[in-house]
Symmetry: D2
Subunit: 257 residues, 4 copies
């Protein structure tokens, strides 16, 4: 039987991960290793300076005092006796599209599962207060079923965003690229009750590139957006230009100390 | 005069950021906005649930109780009266190459500066206890000088790794792609003094793709590695394959609830 | 009906607080406001620099991203619509006796309830892995019952330690003073997997004053120890001596700048 | 030469601890072990679940990623080669009087030094933005000088509050008891920029017992307040009453399971 590792960034008790667990338990052995509390915005952060504590909260269910990346990292480097076949992360309360993916702990958890035998999946619902977790759960199940019959390369990472709609109102599936936002809205200045300044990170910027082909566009039109994600951050299209540009810098060894 | 924002992930008092500040102050107005303490491994994590506190620790020098990404985000969305022209992040104690870039707070700080008028730069020295900060500082100065005369597109992000060598032993510059590591070493299990289990994240995996053309290779051979980084995580080369694959999933609206 | 606020320092899901909730719910309206995670050792620490977040996890059950003191402070200064009549904190996994009380979050939560109409109670079981939570729960119920019939002054704080024994093996109740320990054992030096030094706080010191009349003695002999606690930290017995001593310091205003 | 351990809760770089260091260095060997950042409100909290990291930031100057209590605990249980003779904590920006002492990290740091050969001292200035650190420093020096000539018992803890006045305007010294406040002001409800509720701990309550003899009264009238503090939290005056009260509870062993 397939062995799926489930994680998220909303914490091990979030309704989204419970729905995901239930959906996948019908078709696979599922182990949950998830943060003990909400770690939205954690990106790929990894705890290097302190040890991690792991608590078993039920059969094959662990909470970790750490980030989503810590959770998946631990799970696949020795915490679990049997290596999982794949990671499914989510179901996140709130979409992870466009530039927001950079900051997402949900997608980071999937990314950390890139070394396993089957693709890694991140699933998010397009609402901070989702009403249709069942649609997200159904997406998870269909994706996993299809992967077991018709696999994609093992290093594939799929970032899936689901409209927060009843299943029958979802229009279909679409392979997409990530859209892009404008710069974030200004920082929100405030004061604490003692009169000292505080700063809140402002809301994300407006959509800049959200036309056909993007994840923004697909979800806005009722489609499940499926974006292949890469781990290699090299901007290959700029390599030649940069190669030319650096020749203008001169050789340090020649010019002297 | 150019206005450069300097940040890092080792904290505002780390020797690397002080060396960077000194080097760039000779040629530009420099503002430092950096974390109050070591935040290595923070990746692009962003503080969404709590307000941030900013402390002015000197003229144009701020420490923030937050992540590297928080620092640059605040700085360019309203903390500073005048928008900087570019971000330079570092000089990090320790290389940021290959997959490690995913977890790097140094590179994340540069990434967050992608909306400014000039490219964003991350600079790391290839040693956890650098002896040749002067080489890193010289690299910073030369890169910034060249960018001011011969600019690259404003959304360029350069990830620069410098061998920890005296300047005259550095062999030159090389435009590189990121290498790739094998999976990380196993988690390190231990016990605290009360006999309870703890887990440390294990060391990074060995190099898997570290041949000619990679950052690993360049630095190992004494070159300054310059890698263009992208923010768009779409894996374009897999888009067609995924587009085909999702057609096999069937239309939700048709199949019913 | 009496309204009891229940809190602890082991976290809102700890078995001890669940047992306490069940026991008291039979005789009173119970509201739980407790930390979202283990905060043992938190003492009376109060979160002044950041706002607190409160999550309703069930009917009259709240978890707080904060310390035990934060929880009770919030609860009695406005979070709850109806002011509770008393606070019961626990059931802690591990005794809180002697000097250890200084560091205890369990006792701190009770202390923060000192302004309410009925005494505040802290209950701890003498084992880090309690087997007889039922004994602790029974103690809680009997104490609250007796207080409702035969009240103690409203500013009383009772620190109760229960042997981890079956109810029928408990020898009785004893009013006690706090014992005292020798200085703590040495710090435990270690290394993280990267070879950098780490330090663990050592175990508490041995008992120095643990004879008849102390909490240590009572619990060791199978009795429930009941210690009245004070909030006024003035050492009255030293006031005269200090008053004499400070006269030797001379008047600043006379001696000049 | 006397060896004094200096700590605080405002962080190792706070102006108050720097002034204290300078003042005491003229008369003793001084070692600083202090938190790396502001830990006001930390009370006696102790880090039990994670290791501590210590960074040497100068000769005999250490910053610790921990609480004030952690700092002093480490220092006297093995971090320092030579045991200090006494602890002086401060100079805190803001008074620590009355009930506030319960929450104070400054006083907690002194309390943790109760096992050393000479008394432990906590010094606070009565202003969040002190203008007369020199007065606090002078108090520290005079107190230590007098203790070395005319010692108090080694387990004495003195909590000293200094008016924020020029030295020549200070009226003298007074041995005091702690005053008492009314219950704290209500919690301050707010919203974050996303519309989610947040709660700030409200300001301390008004003074309830602030008449002659209290620390509040002394400082308000321009005197340096010196309060002896005790570690034994037993409320001895209530012991008889509680002893009588518990007899009404019946013997568990008799009444059965």
């Amino acid at each position: 039987m397939m062995h799926i590792l489930v994680s998220n960034d909303d914490g091990y008790q979030a309704p989204g991960i419970l729905a995901l667990f239930d959906a996948l338990s019908k078709m696979a052995d599922v182990t949950v290793v998830a943060p003990e509390r909400d770690r939205s915005g954690a990106s790929n952060s990894l705890t290097l300076d302190y040890p991690l504590r792991v608590h078993e909260v039920g059969e094959r269910r662990y909470r970790v005092e750490g980030t989503p990346t810590d959770c998946v990292h631990l799970a696949i480097t020795g915490l679990l006796r049997e290596e999982p076949d794949m990671v499914v992360s989510g179901i996140n309360a709130g979409a992870n599209m466009g530039d927001d993916v950079l900051y997402s702990g949900t997608v980071a958890a999937a990314t950390e599962g890139r070394f396993l035998g089957l693709p890694a999946i991140a699933i998010s619902l397009n609402s901070f207060a989702p009403r249709h977790l069942a649609s997200g759960a159904r997406v998870a199940r269909q994706i996993v079923e299809r992967l077991s019959r018709d696999p994609l390369p093992s290093d594939t990472i799929l970032n899936i965003n689901v409209p927060d709609l009843p299943w029958e109102e979802i229009q279909g599936w679409e392979a997409t690229r990530l859209g892009r936002r404008h710069r974030a809205e200004p920082v929100v200045r405030g004061e604490d009750p003692r009169g000292r300044p505080i700063y809140w990170i402002g809301p994300p910027g407006n959509e800049e590139d959200a036309g056909p082909g993007t994840d923004f566009y697909a979800v806005r039109n009722g489609f499940v957006s499926v974006t292949p994600i890469q781990v290699d951050l090299t901007r290959y299209t700029a390599l030649d230009q940069v190669a030319g540009w650096v020749t203008g810098l001169g050789r340090p060894a020649e010019e002297g100390g």
